[in-house]
């Protein structure tokens, strides 16, 4: 039940309460009632038909950079 996927917002209706998201090619109507100021092309986490939160691209990049840094620090030892 908690399984939820990041999805890209590709359409927002005039009331801004609903929108269409793209999840890897699958399009779905979702409620945007829980979020302020959703913009086209934002990524949101969709759960039971509702966008719960926006995903922050800068933070995501920083997390990935952290992984990459770790990879640089922790090269597997040579056999």
């Amino acid at each position: 039940m908690c399984l939820a996927l990041p999805a890209r917002v590709i359409d927002i209706d005039a009331t801004r309460q609903h929108g269409t998201v793209d999840m890897g090619g699958v399009r779905k109507q979702v409620s945007l009632a829980l979020l302020d100021e959703v913009q086209l092309d934002d990524y949101v986490i969709v759960h039971v038909g509702y966008a719960l939160t926006r995903l922050d691209q800068d933070e995501a990049r920083q997390t990935l950079a952290l992984f990459a840094q770790m990879a640089a620090d922790e090269q597997p030892s040579a056999p």
Partner: protein, 373 residues
């Protein structure tokens, strides 16, 4: 950025595993509870457990909403579904939860009850609009992630004057369950907690600070992708090694300290705390669940249909209770994989793919086989 594939890179996973192996102290055990069923699922599905050092032991927590719903509440849903004129709308996961007398919602449907699976509470609202002469009852379950959508639906029904829509409310609270785990008479020994991903998008990271300060327990909030979970475990290992107990956030791309203010306000507006609520495995806990607030009492299915809960014991040999409390593992249950399987579950932990038993059945059994060999 797709926010998925980047967080599943197998080479980075190997390197994170190497970092963990380098940093664990060889002569101590690191016992971390993943509270959330989503993490249980990710750990099993992506083989993360195989990548962790042998010193790290993951303990499954009670964060699967299907698993913690006790039999009495399913019986209540079945009872209302069988009333003439009622349509019971439910998320799909709940249909196979075993109830009393060998029944389930799916069984009740086979006997003629009108039980419909919905993907979203909005679909339940649509049923109410489509069938004005029927009573549509939404079986609301879940932690803080599914609660705000239920609140939106209740307000929408009020605004539209939908009089045939009501909610059988089983929404439960994550921090209360965490307190229950840590305050058990014989608490399971824990060195850290992997904090929920999506629940935290709503409530923020602040509600976990009490566990770091009062219980000296490190907490790392983690996303649901495999690299997220591995990074969180590494962060927990470091806290333990350095003697720290803090709330850290690995999932900064989606979670902040304050949470989703709009969702929290909606929840506060529509719901009220229950004095007591019965959880499977954890027993009755004060202030651990929500009911509809007094302003919305006319949409509370328990009041509208005069329903009452009975406490029904689990199957005598089912170990869901001790598993949910972190005391036992799925493979410790004599029913596991024999009488109790995902196709024919005896206990709730085998029902949802996020249940500890279902995750272990689907993905984890080879580990036990390897150990045995």
């Amino acid at each position: 950025m797709k926010y998925v594939s980047e967080f599943r890179d197998p080479q980075l996973a190997q390197q994170l595993a190497q970092a963990m192996a380098n940093e664990v102290h060889p002569d101590r055990l690191y016992r971390f509870m993943e509270f959330c069923g989503g993490h249980t699922h990710a750990l099993a599905r992506y083989g993360v457990l195989d990548l962790l050092p042998s010193q790290v032991q993951m303990i499954h927590g009670p964060g699967c909403p299907v698993c913690v719903l006790p039999i009495g509440r399913i019986d209540m849903a079945i009872e209302v579904a069988r009333r003439p004129g009622v349509i019971l709308a439910s998320y799909g996961d709940t249909l196979r939860i075993p109830a009393s007398k060998g029944l389930s919602l799916m069984g009740a449907r086979a006997q003629g009850a009108d039980v419909r699976v919905v993907y979203s509470v909005d679909d339940a609202l649509q049923l109410a609009r489509t069938w004005p002469d029927r009573e549509v009852v939404f079986l609301a379950i879940g932690f803080e992630t599914t609660t705000p959508p239920t609140a939106v639906a209740i307000q929408t029904a009020r605004r539209e004057g939908l009089r045939n829509f009501s909610v059988l409310c089983n929404h439960v609270l994550t921090p209360a369950a965490m307190h229950a785990i840590l305050d058990q008479p014989e608490p399971v020994a824990l060195d850290g907690l992997v904090g929920p991903a999506h629940v935290s998008t709503i409530i923020g990271s602040r509600p976990y600070e009490v566990f770091a300060s009062d219980y000296h327990l490190p907490v790392v909030i983690a996303g649901f992708e495999p690299l997220d979970v591995m990074q969180a475990v590494l962060m927990l290992i470091r806290q333990v090694n350095e003697g720290r107990a803090e709330v850290e956030n690995e999932f900064t791309r989606a979670v902040n300290r304050e949470g989703n203010a709009r969702a929290i306000a909606l929840t506060d507006e529509v719901f009220a705390l229950r004095d007591q609520f019965e959880w499977r495995g954890l027993g009755s806990m004060p202030h651990s669940a929500l009911r509809l607030g007094d302003r919305y009492a006319d949409m509370d299915a328990e009041l509208r249909f005069a329903l009452s809960t009975r406490v029904v014991p689990d199957h005598p040999r089912c170990e869901c209770g001790p598993i949910l409390r972190g005391h036992k593992r799925p493979q410790d249950c004599v029913l596991f994989g024999t009488i109790c399987t995902p196709d024919q579950p005896t206990g709730a932990c085998m029902v949802s793919s996020e249940g500890a038993c279902a995750a272990h059945y689907r993905y984890g059994r080879h580990q036990a086989d390897e150990v045995a060999a």
